[in-house]
Symmetry: C2
Subunit: 348 residues, 2 copies
């Protein structure tokens, strides 16, 4: 079966050009059918310039959300903006997933309002995948909910666990909580309360506190935290990796010997790229909504967009939404919490 | 004038051997006189094995704090443990500064209880120095206070600013707040309230929100955050740098060509080390106490200890405590807040 992915072609710093190029790269793979959503004339122009033009469908969306607008209000006021039209394609069953590199608040709000939340989910969470010394780690929440309750962290754990099982194919994911020490006595008010909840939940394979160092050592397959901390860890990691690469490049310029060395090391550099380069990771799924929604980096280039589309395809093929729903039901969470009014979504 | 530094010789994963070796390295510099504090017989033995033995003084401290003990209670119950004896050498004017790589909670508690807090300081904060693309950045708090108020973040800003001026010699430090977006509307409840306070404070040179990426790009000279976030950013950075170096080393093993490349690049590696290696940075000062206290990494080796002693010397020479005190007074903070009971200190 072909996976149909709706792409918000107007979202991101390099939209629509790089988004269309990225969609074209992904469209070379026959498993995907791609729908570009956005301003019709602009998109026709962009699509005409790529060799895969015949493989790209366009669905018009005349409205545009500005960076300054409050996300939840904007997506309600502009139902014909690209991000809402893309979300609605998923809702109407015309696409299996949607991808956006636009305003992440607007993306979350569109998903929460138009797709709706799964039963038992107070707030959807972003699940970013980080590389570790032992493989991969899912960090939930990576920036959706900045002020969390302990109960929300439990929901993130259950959803992250389902994602690790379904998409990353980890059969018994170990779930940890991001904290400032390994001992149970460590932490702030939130993590102490959440750790107690996680420890007593029979459906979570809880392995305890994970420190910042432990995150990259691969101490857990799923690490929960509030979206404020998650976003800062993610962006600080990106900044540090960029800085280290920059320093290394600067010092390579210094002598002929180091330049020869750098030449010999080209393949090693390449193997490092997937670890330090956000574009390799594509996008992060928003967990807890009734449909597959992939949030891509605002700075996404064509390669990052292509990878985000592949991430959407993988999530849809793995029945991510059904798996998360089942996880919430089996944990007894479904039905036990009030669903927050959708207008609260997308504050970050 | 010689700077006298008291070193808790029993603190840290590699104590006392590496601590004594580190003290010996630092003692080669005649500007420092070093007092080792700890179990007398053990220290005599260690000191006898280093060539700089004659330059190292020993002050006995028979009691030991265990990792499991509650820090504040332990330092009250054991006034003859090495960390308390070292703090008291500063209090009594027999040393200009003290250094410890031991339990950081016990270190903070010793400083808060035995040295006391400066007027206007609710809780002392750890000021770690990070490398950036433009130089250095002071991250306050890096792990002392895990649940902060907006007022505390303002105090951290004033103290961090004083530290950047006095020790890092930045004449007009730009102060930012660690946040999830650059726009003023972004953040969690704490950062929104703290940013408003910082913006309205005439004595803080506030430059707005700094994202995780901006931290390493050098957008500010001082970045404030609560100790939970600061500790996690610091440790995640350490973990990521270790992981990147590990990946690179692994990929270098793969072929003769990459091995030749690595050989040519040896000097470039070395220039990268100070950036990725915690041992280069030595320790972080605890700001807000009435004396210079440097908290070193628990994993400190001899080189890290030597650098922590140098950091203590630099802080003492720069009159750090007086500068912080003056900063608090000039900001109108001194006297305006109640000093918290010392038993609350060192919870982290």
């Amino acid at each position: 079966m072909q996976i149909v992915v709706a792409v918000d072609a107007m979202g991101g710093d390099k939209a629509p050009d790089e988004v269309v190029k990225g969609a074209a790269i992904a469209a070379r793979d026959r498993r995907y059918r791609i729908i570009l959503v956005g301003e019709e004339n602009k998109l026709r122009e962009c699509v005409a310039s790529v060799p895969e033009a015949s493989k790209l469908e366009i669905v018009p969306a005349p409205e545009v959300i500005d960076m300054g607008e409050a996300p939840a209000a904007a997506v309600r006021r502009k139902p014909k903006c690209s991000i809402v039209v893309a979300a609605n394609l998923v809702k109407e069953g015309r696409a299996h997933a949607f991808v956006s590199a636009g305003n992440s608040g607007a993306c979350m709000a569109s998903a929460a309002i138009y797709l709706g939340l799964l039963d038992g989910v107070e707030r959807p969470a972003i699940a970013a995948v980080l590389p570790t010394q032992r493989g991969k780690c899912v960090l939930v929440d990576s920036g959706a909910v900045v002020d969390c309750s302990a109960e929300m962290l439990l929901q993130f754990a259950v959803m992250g666990q389902a994602y690790a099982r379904a998409v990353l194919k980890v059969s018994h994911p170990r779930v940890g909580i991001l904290n400032i020490g390994e001992e149970a006595s460590k932490g702030n008010n939130l993590t102490k309360a959440a750790a107690a909840l996680l420890r007593s939940s029979p459906s979570v394979n809880f392995c305890g506190n994970v420190e910042g160092t432990g995150l990259y050592q691969g101490q857990a397959d799923v690490v929960v935290c509030d979206g404020f901390v998650g976003n800062i860890v993610l962006k600080a990691s990106e900044g540090l990796a960029e800085m280290l690469m920059w320093y290394l490049k600067e010092s390579l310029k210094k002598s002929l010997l180091t330049r020869i060395g750098a030449l010999c090391l080209r393949s090693a550099w390449r193997s490092l790229k997937p670890i330090s380069d956000y574009a390799e990771h594509g996008g992060a799924p928003l967990l807890g909504v009734k449909g597959v929604c992939i949030i891509a980096h605002g700075r996404s280039n064509a390669r990052a967009i292509a990878n985000a589309i592949r991430a959407a395809g993988a999530a849809a093929s793995a029945n991510l939404v059904e798996t998360v729903k089942k996880g919430l039901e089996e944990s007894g969470l479904a039905g036990s919490y009030q669903v927050a009014p959708a207008s609260d979504a997308g504050e970050g």
